[in-house]
């Protein structure tokens, strides 16, 4: 990828309304999580047992939870764990999947066969149910969630990267590189990988959203990150019990999850549009 091409992609993305909308939401969410200690009006774990399950007031803008903690502060801090799990598991799964996919696609043969059988096996299973089963076995916690999500989601990258690597491997410039004596590693990382980054980035972006959704679901079911750590899924779990008393308790954290997933979906869509000019005006 040359400098000029990078530049056009950035400009194309900047002009893409959908991608920009997603990016603005994402920057907002990341900003909230980074600056949580300065933004949050209260300590997220400070209890006030005289003020439980209150509606919105000037002191507590979104009201309080079942032990009198400030809901807004908990929602703000909740973004941290959720975004970290979503991001880190995507990064790990992406690295594993891209490496194996490159090997499978470029080398072919036995390695390809083994990697693709594993991929197909994983992709024939209901992901979310597997996450639940594995977390129930391994036990809850941030580390285990990241491990489980990574182990279960890398095949998605491997499959896409393999297909793209196979396609690119047949192009003349790869043959030229081989003729010049470039090593397999060099061809994979210097010549193939930079040219198949677009579908990888699209997959990764959408995958962060899916991972956030999985983490929230697992936390909502009580198997994820353990209280009192605030995560959106945890808040929803408690809030759901008081749905009739304080609906905001379930609505606020759920809205945040939806916004986060939406942001990554919009960015993914935007990048796909920019890289796939067939549907562009």
């Amino acid at each position: 990828m040359t400098k000029t091409r990078d530049f056009t992609i950035v400009r194309a993305l900047a002009g893409h309304k959908i991608a920009m909308a997603g990016l603005i939401i994402l920057v907002g969410l990341v900003g909230i999580s980074v600056f949580a200690p300065w933004i949050a009006p209260h300590d997220p774990n400070e209890q006030d047992l005289y003020r439980v399950l209150e509606g919105p007031s000037r002191l507590h803008l979104l009201g309080t939870d079942d032990v009198g903690r400030d809901l807004l502060s908990r929602v703000i801090y909740g973004s941290r764990v959720t975004l970290v799990i979503g991001g880190v598991s995507t990064l790990f799964a992406g690295i594993i999947g891209v490496l194996l996919g490159l090997v499978a696609g470029y080398k072919g043969g036995f390695a390809d066969m083994v990697i693709m059988r594993i991929t197909d096996t994983f992709m024939s299973m209901p992901l979310l149910v597997l996450v639940l089963v594995m977390i129930a076995t391994l036990g809850p916690g941030i580390k285990n969630l990241i491990i489980v999500i990574t182990v279960l989601t890398w095949p998605a990258y491997a499959r896409i990267v393999r297909g793209e690597a196979m396609r690119v491997s047949k192009l003349p410039y790869i043959e030229a590189a081989q003729a010049l004596g470039a090593s397999g590693l060099r061809i994979m990382f210097r010549h193939i990988l930079p040219n198949i980054m677009a579908p990888i980035i699209v997959t990764a972006s959408i995958s962060v959203g899916i991972n956030i959704m999985m983490e929230s679901t697992v936390s909502f079911l009580g198997l994820g990150v353990q209280p009192p750590t605030p995560t959106w899924g945890n808040e929803l779990k408690i809030g759901y019990a008081y749905l009739e008393v304080v609906p905001l308790f379930s609505i606020a954290p759920g809205l945040m999850i939806t916004l986060a997933v939406l942001a990554f979906n919009l960015i993914g869509d935007g990048i796909r549009d920019v890289f796939d000019p067939r549907l562009r005006e």
């Binding site: 594995m134 959704m213 929803l236 749905l243 939406l262």
Partner: protein, 316 residues
């Protein structure tokens, strides 16, 4: 075509075999009996009892023998006994299957009745405000977590306004109208998610097909727009839609688990969720292998549909 189908069938069985090994190992991970004992609060059970139970469930034998016994019994129809209900797992399945199938019928109904028309209209009204709002609606539908959508809808239509029951299931034989009411909301929630996916793919693939030369030819020879759309554009535009249904099938099944759990619908999903919480591994294993088998079957059907939708595949 025939060798193609045969190859696909063989491959499907190979994957099913690998899936069964993975599921078996998952079920055996982390000393299942101990976990099950803990979750029934008889955690104090002395080691002699646990050892006796291990012999009873065959957990004292080497892993490959256990796998062989499990899979051969499974194929013969002996799916073991639930650790908690002491019932035959296969019987539990057969009893709960109709309920889940009804939920799925509702789910297919909603996703088709929303997804296809929305995608169609968005493509035909491309770049209008109608297109923009339908496309935005679709991406929001995809982004809302199933459990949160359930909470919001329960609040709106069961707590604030009493239209639907907040949870529970009424059998059709008992009261057909209440049965429909109890299944309407959960199936709608499942349906909106996949409707979002379907409408996006219908839109983009229809747009792509409409840009092809043969569509221009069809218009040029004087065919009416309706004829062009239904006879020439619709069928080929289904190919990506069918692909994505195959890819998303597992995700949709998992969504059904969550919805059954939240709405207290006594189907397969709820049974499996409770089994996961309790560590009831005979049920977990049986559910996972059947769900995986179902996903593999759906993807096989998708492959066959390609041949039907795209004659070029048949030739190859």
């Amino acid at each position: 075509m025939k060798p193609f189908i045969l190859k696909r069938i063989l491959y499907a069985f190979l994957i099913l075999f690998l899936v069964s090994i993975l599921i078996f190992l998952l079920g055996r991970a982390g000393d299942p009996l101990e976990k099950a004992a803990l979750s029934t609060r008889m955690g104090m059970a002395d080691s002699e009892v646990v050892d006796a139970l291990k012999v009873q469930f065959g957990l004292d034998r080497p892993l490959h023998v256990q796998y062989y016994l499990w899979i051969s019994n499974f194929i013969r129809g002996d799916w073991g006994k639930s650790l908690f209900y002491r019932e035959d797992v296969r019987e539990m399945f057969i009893n709960r299957l109709p309920i889940t199938l009804e939920l799925f019928a509702g789910f297919v109904f909603w996703s088709a009745i929303i997804g296809f028309p929305f995608g169609f209209i968005a493509a035909l009204k491309r770049n209008s405000w109608i297109d923009a709002s339908l496309t935005t609606g679709a991406v929001i539908g995809i982004s809302i977590p199933v459990f949160w959508q359930a909470i919001v809808m329960i609040y709106l239509f069961a707590v604030a306004v009493h239209i639907f029951p907040p949870s529970g299931y009424v059998p059709f034989s008992e009261d057909p109208w209440k049965n429909l009411l109890s299944i309407a909301m959960p199936s709608f929630i499942l349906g909106t998610h996949s409707a979002g996916i379907i409408s996006r793919y219908v839109r983009s693939s229809l747009l792509e097909v409409l840009g092809q030369d043969y569509i221009r030819t069809a218009f040029a020879k004087g065919l009416r727009a309706k004829a062009v759309l239904l006879r020439h554009a619709f069928k080929p535009s289904l190919i990506p839609v069918v692909t994505v249904i195959g890819l998303e099938w597992g995700y949709m099944l998992a969504g059904a688990f969550i919805v059954e759990y939240m709405f207290a619908i006594p189907g397969l999903g709820r049974m499996c969720m409770n089994a996961i919480f309790a560590g009831d591994f005979p049920i977990i294993q049986a559910t996972l292998i059947l769900v995986a088998g179902n996903i593999i079957l759906v993807n096989f059907v998708v492959d066959l549909l390609y041949g039907f939708l795209d004659p070029r595949v048949r030739v190859q």
